[in-house]
Symmetry: none
Subunit: 140 residues, 2 copies
DNA sequence: CGCATAATGTTCTAATTAGGAACATTATAC
DNA sequence: GTATAATGTTCCTAATTAGAACATTATGCG
């Protein structure tokens, strides 16, 4: 995937207009100069991460949404983005299933919690062993 | 909400270690100098948005998680609660924490999903072994 | 249309900041 | 305890940014 700043800067313009704000209004909210906004929107300058986070809050969208990051499409988290931007949509089945699976499997839930409480190195070791273990059971 | 870069740079360090990579390995993946990684992790320099997006892809997490975007997190949790209260299922805060844990830990998440897809008997076997495994690591 | 002014775009400058290479320190393995 | 891997730091150069001032374009209204 090729990443460029064009989408990001274009999105800033898009979401500002969606809110019906002028560059000056947005600049005031961020307490920066208006000309900076103009340069962001025309992709002359790329906003720093702090400004982007503030923008995502002001626009009430996720950072991933703001920067047009869809690389995690195959991840569970992609749905969170969707849910976040349209509250009427139910949760993704995958997420719900994972939750319900853990809620209905106290044993495994507890084990995950125990893993969660271990130091990182030990977590990694367990994951390595576990991966092998599952491999074997999948093969049987 | 106060935003600072500390969380971001700390997270880079955290997720790199979670993957068991050296700074050099991460630098190679990003095709940049290792010293830059070091400066990121020590909050001497703040990575630009393009690098952050690449990092989120490499770490396989969302940008929001990488930068520790809390406002996003709260909204997600609200959604969980909404969905679950409407299902009259008792809402379990512990599960939320687990989901959070799994979201920032793609490897383990995947393993749980694999377990979920196994037949019950095999699930139980794995849980038994896993329990013993965790025991040992907790004792060390 | 033609004017006023709101909105946006661009240029210039000063200052900050990032990145890489080299060097310094700390951690780890044997 | 030493060798080496891993990480931290400094110095330098190059690139980037924010703001102010100025230029252009868009919009509303008589």
């Amino acid at each position: 995937m090729t990443i460029n700043t064009e989408i990001i800067t274009h999105n800033i313009s898009f979401f500002r207009k969606q809110k019906n704000w002028t560059q000056q209004e947005l600049a005031d909210k961020l307490k920066i100069s208006r000309s900076v906004i103009a340069k962001w929107e025309n992709n002359i300058v790329t906003p720093d991460i702090i400004s982007l986070i503030k923008l995502s809050e002001i626009f009430n969208i996720t950072l991933d949404h703001l920067v047009g990051n869809d690389s995690f499409r195959h991840d569970i988290l992609k749905e969170f983005k969707r849910v976040y931007s349209s509250k009427t949509t139910p949760f993704d089945d995958e997420v719900i299933e994972l939750i319900e699976f853990l809620m209905t499997n106290p044993t495994l839930k507890q084990e995950v919690q125990r893993i969660k409480n271990l130091p990182l190195k030990k977590q990694q070791s367990i994951q390595t062993v576990l991966s092998e273990l599952i491999d074997q059971f999948e093969k049987i």
